[in-house]
Symmetry: C2
Subunit: 593 residues, 2 copies
């Protein structure tokens, strides 16, 4: 049984598409990152993911992390893999060369990250934190702080942990109560209990930089009174060497249904009144810092949905081409491969079509971020940022919700064997289950979408997106082979456009509908975005087929699009119908009677 | 935290509804089973489920079963609970009084079973097997066999195990290869390996009667050559006392992602050539026997979806009335109960509305079976049996698929806490995950629906069902308060009716569509059936409200129906749209390139 094969061909195609769509081809800054280099990086990453990370995934799940007297031991093989990961330079792939990274654009980092996530999410959880934490330090840290922290972080000598959640402050960070008391020397004394800290304590690196959200004594209430502090596990001397232990104590790790190899820590800061921290950025600007990380993290969680879908598809396909059971639906021939049963094919294609649509969206977002950072045209930058901001909550929530569905479908294809842990696919379901919750639940993404991403700019970004999808629909309609899909795409856009006035209506009478209907609306837009991406792929496939290129591959791409339009696109209308009447029933029901 | 409260009020209402709809009120045979008796039985069962079974559910999951040298030990407390369960007479509730049971009609047994499933499915897995196994013996066994086996089975002294699956014969039972060699004394020597045998070995009872599917030497190939044998773990002397051990050896138990407390055994029969079995019924009629059990088992698995939904709803509701987080969407008031967030309300109501619709369907099916067994009118019996046969695969597949979704939604409501095992709701997800697989996968139910339940009678049963739902829609349309729902129900029926000619078309060109579209079609019909049940409940609620009865309860019932029509009914049209184009993409995609 193959554990995971990096889908290099799909990835390269989608990277090329993303580069073209984002207009990155002509940029001199990216001239060195040509197709050849992309292929080389992806191939190397694929080898590492397949050869080093994937083999530890199941053993890490079975063994889990160990907690003893404040110390966390990661599963067997984790330490060695971590060292190799850092030595090979994967940690700093997309981080600035100034601090030892490789400064690769996001459009290359995205497929590489996908491989890590597919191969072993529990292991690689430290990676997104390091990326996000570095971004925070880059944007908010002083020059001195950057110089002190970023080198060891980019090299993997130190890791980053994000300390946000408290028992009474989860989704609502504004209610956190950890304190930061300023000291005469410019440091702060941190005091408080945090929970759900991923890799908050571990044995992989010599130090851990906790980025802790806390309140200074005179801070305003709520989310405007939160500041961000760097709190090292081991204090750092002026020359950058390690000093004494800081007063940072891991009090336990969670017993989770999945991600057993990733320690989820409860941390007590300053229990002995000796927890030193230093302010990052200005006081009371902690939430802004957090959003820098959060956007990274949302894209990474969304990508987890893609990554789990891909692994599940590979395993299920392999199994259904081996397992014989039942007879052919047409010929009655006995004991055929189960992939020949149309219902099994339906399940396989439901995963594969979603993976391709969502992956295409993920790579596009990455390329749009690259472009927004490189363009010199301010108006273009603004509209690119608005596009990314709009797509981020859709992608995060839709990809993770469908990631859960895809892992369920994978188990279903395995039948009874899927329920047996040794098969390995139940682990996918368990590991993926947190994706729709962390980095902002699906409900929170949907509210972000409706209120901050659609209402707050008066519908400008969504209208621009819809116009682009309509142009895509028009292009499809001009091609006889794709006109059915073109028509369906156009009709889906019209249906969303008809709902826009209602979404933009700030009448308070509308508030219940917008809140209760936000997730169904997000589902509709997520499906529309996948359909859009697959429509573009179909157009590409059609033209390559006409040129006689790789007919097996491109016929399948075309079939995937047909499948998605038949099996998923009708949901757009159903979800919008729900959105239109989303206050029904929610308003009248009383839970406390 | 309450683990489970039997929802007595809902259950009693739905039992009354089912009795009325099935026309059981006037039957003299059922005169003694009045509302008072139903209430008394449900109350007692509720106490047992809450007090004895639910408290063992999580500890059984954590501990699991132990296997050592052929012996299986169940988790702590299992043995005592089993004894109490049998002593209280719950095992034989719906089994014939002739053999020590209580002969209660199915319409009472159904809610009682639901309670066992909600409280502790892993424990109670033996129960459905005992019910189904007893039905087989009642229908197929000789008088002597009934006399010998049924007493100890009904009392719980012996349990029943069903030995169907082999490594190469899962969904496709026709390919099983276990042998049964006739002996001169009329017995058979059984030889073969079976897997996935629930409670195939355990320490709860002194004997286990394995009902084993096997082939006699001259049996025809495929499913027409399968016979059924009773194979006791301990041989039974002529006087009914226990003799020597039979050659039945448990070779291991599975390490599953859920249902840890229920031993799933691999069994070797006749490894030492000493496994005696006796034929039940005629040779080569084993599959017919299996279908007796299978129909029981399908209803039981479907009920598991309802049962998990109910527990999940109760836990999630309790949590969302305790947990404060975020601010009120209208007033901005800080730190409100999360049940006040419309998106959390949406999730809670999505579970509650499905549970009520599916439970109503479950109880209706039970009452229809009772009626079909009691009616003296042959035509009525036939049409009742056809209705039950049609509804069974819909209910099994739809309730279990949505059971999985509901456990996922429960976790989502708990947020990060849902991912922590101690919270207990991740166990619901893990335990429920097998429901869509065992007793016939969702794909198999969908094929059964399309080919055996719709095509084979030329659409008679489905047309009768649709006509009844249309009558319900008409009734709703005549009530101003419900006319919107009435119209939606009617339009859904019309959409299904329009698809009927295509479903009934036996053209081979149609086969791919019917096979690939069977599950989406079943989804549409499942949603329609829930909508139908909820529409009836809304009508009842409306009339009770007009009479001034229990306004809190009935207003909520009405709200549930509104919710379901807004959030779920639009799926009917989407799934039918998929059905209409279900060959798209499945046909063209090639998995082996």
């Amino acid at each position: 049984m193959s554990l995971y094969q990096a889908p290099l061909k799909d990835m390269q195609l989608l990277v090329q598409q993303a580069i073209a769509k984002a207009g990155l081809r002509d940029l001199p800054e990216l001239a060195e990152f040509d197709d050849e280099l992309v292929a080389a990086v992806l191939e190397e990453a694929g080898k590492f993911a397949q050869g080093e990370l994937a083999p530890l995934n199941q053993s890490g799940d079975v063994e889990g992390c160990h907690f003893d007297n404040g110390k966390v031991t990661t599963p067997k093989g984790w330490k060695e893999a971590y060292q190799q990961f850092c030595d090979a330079g994967w940690m700093g792939l997309a981080l600035p060369a100034d601090f030892g990274g490789q400064s690769l654009p996001k459009f290359i980092a995205q497929p590489v990250n996908e491989m890590w996530l597919s191969a072993n999410l529990a292991f690689v959880m430290f990676h997104a934190l390091t990326q996000g934490g570095s971004e925070i330090l880059l944007h908010m840290g002083s020059e001195e702080q950057k110089a002190r922290y970023l080198g060891p972080i980019v090299s993997g000598q130190w890791t980053v942990a994000m300390s946000l959640t408290e028992p009474n402050a989860g989704s609502d960070l504004g209610s956190l109560s950890t304190k930061a008391i300023p000291q005469d020397d410019g440091h702060y004394l941190i005091k408080g209990q945090k929970i759900f800290i991923t890799y908050g304590e571990h044995d992989l690196a010599e130090n851990i930089i906790h980025l802790v959200l806390a309140r200074t004594p005179d801070a305003p209430a709520g989310s405007r009174g939160i500041s961000l502090f760097a709190v090292p596990k081991v204090r750092i001397n002026a020359d950058g060497s390690l000093g004494d232990a800081n007063d940072v104590v891991c009090t336990g790790i969670e017993h989770k249904t999945g991600l057993h190899g990733s320690p989820t820590c409860s941390i007590s800061y300053g229990d002995q009144d000796g927890c030193f921290g230093e302010l990052i950025g200005e006081e009371n600007r902690g939430l802004a810092a957090m959003f820098i990380l959060m956007n990274e993290a949302r894209l990474s969680s969304g990508l987890q949905g893609v990554a789990f879908g891909e692994v599940g598809f590979q395993r299920a396909l392999e199994y259904s081409l081996e397992r014989t059971q039942g007879s052919d639906y047409q010929t009655g021939k006995q004991r055929v491969k189960i992939a020949q049963h149309p219902d099994v094919a339906r399940m396989l294609l439901s995963i594969r079509s979603e993976v391709m649509g969502l992956r295409s969206l993920a790579y596009l977002i990455a390329a749009l971020i690259d472009k927004s950072e490189l363009t010199l045209n301010a108006a273009e930058r603004k509209s690119l940022q608005a596009r990314v901001a709009l797509l981020t909550p859709i992608f995060k929530a839709f990809a993770t919700e469908h990631g859960n569905l895809m892992t369920g479908t994978t188990i279903q294809i395995f039948g009874g064997m899927g329920f047996i842990e040794e098969t390995g696919v139940a682990q996918l379901m368990r590991d993926a289950r947190i994706n729709t919750i962390y980095e902002g639940t699906t409900g929170i993404q949907a509210r972000d979408l409706v209120f901050r991403k659609i209402q707050s700019d008066g519908g400008e970004a969504i209208s621009a997106l819809l116009a682009e999808i309509v142009r895509q629909a028009d292009a499809l309609q001009r091609d006889d082979a794709l006109s059915t899909q073109g028509q369906a795409l156009r009709s889906a856009c019209s249906a969303v456009t008809e709902s826009l006035p209602c979404i933009l209506n700030r009448d308070s009478a509308n508030l219940l509908q917008l809140n209760a209907g936000a997730v169904p609306l997000l589902e509709a837009l997520g499906t529309l975005c996948c359909a859009w991406q697959l429509a573009e792929l179909a157009q590409l496939a059609q033209s390559r087929l006409r040129e006689g290129q790789d007919p097996d591959y491109y016929s399948n791409l075309l079939a995937l699009t047909r499948f998605y339009f038949a099996f998923s696109v009708p949901n757009i209308h159903a979800r919008l119908a729900t959105f239109r009447q989303a206050d029904a029933g929610v308003e009248q029901y009383r839970f406390e009677v």
